[in-house]
Amino acid sequence: MRFSGLVENEILKFTRQRRFRVVVLILVALIGLIVFAQARGRERFRSGKDWHVETQERMARIQNWLRDGRMPASSARWARFELDRLRYHLDRDIDPEAVSGPLFARGFANAASYLLLPLLAIVFASDVVSAEFAQGTIKLLLTRPVGRARVLASKLAALALAITLTVVFGGAVAYVFGGIAYGYAGWGAPVLAGFRAAGERLDPAAVRAIPLWQDAILAYGLAWFAALCVGAIALLTSVLLRSTAAAMGTMLAALIAGTILPRLASSWESQRFLFVTALPLPDYYSGSPPPITGLTVGFGAAVLAAWAAAALAAAFAVFVRRDVLA
């Protein structure tokens, strides 16, 4: 009656249901489509000039400005970074303006954190408990000599594992497909990180150059964290509503509201306390201006964590105490 055995049970149920294969298919098909569409779009805008020559000209221009010494200090920092970046690409024979496989994979973290990853987390989490009610198997599950909290904890562990695998798998597929289209090299390319929003402007003080792979790990980590929190909230709806369709519908509605709300009513600052507004953590980290004042990475992560913790507490309290009469 070890806990690992219970988690194994939940994993068995996850993998043997059709939805797991559907999620894998969705990821592969969607990423394939994005790569294809992007690659087609780029071909059209290619200029006739060789990029090696173009890059060398740009580097020369920047070096001239720096030698001038008339540039303000903050701009000089940007210039020096740009110079490093161009040199890195030229040394490795990569077009600095082109998308690389690693860059595409990194960008996917931002794009997927809004909707795709939360959506897949919801698809997994919505039926974790409600399916047992629908199948009637809850009556067997809760009449074994295992405490109810332990049963739910094993489900939570398996859910976290499924979400983690989905994020890793999504990143891997994005890299593989991006690599096919744009080449696999470029994980070491320097990128800027550490943007902080200071009021309406970006505060460049903490900005530093880090290799792309580090940046990607951070972005995926944030996307993963956001997806986990959504999974925890979806688990609560699954416990409360006992119907997969209702649980999924509720969460989808919340998700869609979350993508619309900041655009329609960005002046309503309290919405930064909603978990759906906090979802695109990788965006806030990458330095895009926050849609709502005061919504930083740290704040967003704290909001998500608070929602998830409250949802889990409620899910356990209800699951452990409620009569099973269905």
């Binding site: 009656m1 068995l12 009637g136 009556k139 009449t143 074994r144 000599p145």
Partner: protein, 318 residues
């Protein structure tokens, strides 16, 4: 276990499951009111009542799916509300229907539930599959099973933990006569050979009568009678007599004044089914003699459980 089975008399008084004053309310409606009974080791205990009488609600309280508003469930003396895990280690059950994971195979289902039991339960899978005659189909998905096969897989699942008590909710529901007989034989075998206490709910009188040693009758959430099947039949139907007399119709008329009497015979010799309380029977016979009827035979009629049920519920059928 072997020595226990060898002395069934010693085992049979041991209480494995007891329900004490169970009460469950849904809103204002009291679905189960003050239900009490004991189930002993090695016996098949029937829980008989019409649909909607509170059988399934009671069973949900017995296995911890629902909390009683009042009352206590004890399994091997352990209070279910406070020692759920230790108590449930003695219980195997099927509640309502043998709902298993249809997208998993029979074996995967058994492995799944064995992981929720102490180590070693998985080792019993081949033996249990043989017991419920599912060895051949164990690696097929449950979705392809017939209802009877699912019921048997459910029983195998319930037996995985070597329970002292097996709780089966309407095991005969939806089965064909052959399937019903299989389950009945299996249940009798488990009680007789393994000393397991089996609690079976049913709305089928004939089923309970053929399978069970003792029975509790539940109606509108209350237990109306509890006891050995034979004893209940005697207690509630001891006034049933069959009298053979001539002229039958006239005799029936005389007997009717002592209770009820029915006959299909005419003025000749015929059988009369009557209900005359035991203490009034001598008077009734004297009245027959005084009325000029010849009595050829008087016999106590053994009532069926159906008649007992009709009596205790006041005429409502199951």
């Amino acid at each position: 276990m072997e020595s226990d089975a060898a002395s069934p008399a010693a085992v049979s008084t041991e209480i494995v499951l007891s329900a004490e004053h169970l009460t469950k309310r849904f809103g204002r409606r009291e679905a189960v009111s003050d239900v009490s009974f004991d189930v002993h080791a090695g016996e098949v205990f029937g829980f008989l009542g019409p649909n909607g009488a509170g059988k399934t609600t009671t069973i949900r309280m017995l296995v911890g799916l629902a909390r009683p508003d009042r009352g206590v469930v004890r399994i091997r003396g352990l209070d279910l509300a406070h020692e759920f895990r230790r108590a449930m280690a003695h219980v195997g059950c099927i509640v309502e229907a043998p709902d298993l994971y249809r997208y998993l195979t029979g074996r995967e289902n058994l492995v799944h539930f064995s992981r929720m039991l102490p180590d070693g339960a998985a080792g019993r899978i081949p033996e249990l599959a043989r017991l419920v005659a599912l060895s051949e189909r164990l690696d097929d998905r449950v979705a392809t099973y017939s209802l009877g096969m699912r019921q048997r897989l459910g029983i195998a699942q319930a037996l995985l933990g070597n329970p002292d008590i097996l709780i089966l909710d309407e095991p005969a529901n939806g089965l064909d006569p052959a399937g019903i007989r299989e389950i009945r034989e299996l249940v009798r075998h488990l009680a007789a050979e393994r000393g397991i206490a089996v609690f079976v709910s049913s709305h089928l009188l004939s089923e309970v009568e053929q399978t069970c040693d003792r029975v509790a009758i539940i109606h509108r959430g209350r237990t109306l009678a509890t006891g050995p099947v034979r004893e209940l039949v005697d207690r509630f139907a001891s006034d049933r007599v069959r009298i053979v007399a001539r002229p039958a119709r006239a005799a029936a008329g005389i007997l009717a004044s002592f209770g009820e009497a029915e006959t299909e015979a005419g003025d000749g010799e015929g059988a009369i089914d009557a209900r005359v309380p035991r203490e009034r029977l001598p008077d009734a016979l004297r009245a027959l003699a005084a009325g000029g009827a010849d009595v050829f035979a008087v016999e106590r009629r053994l009532a069926s459980l159906e008649e007992v049920f009709l009596d205790v519920t006041g005429g409502e059928t199951v």
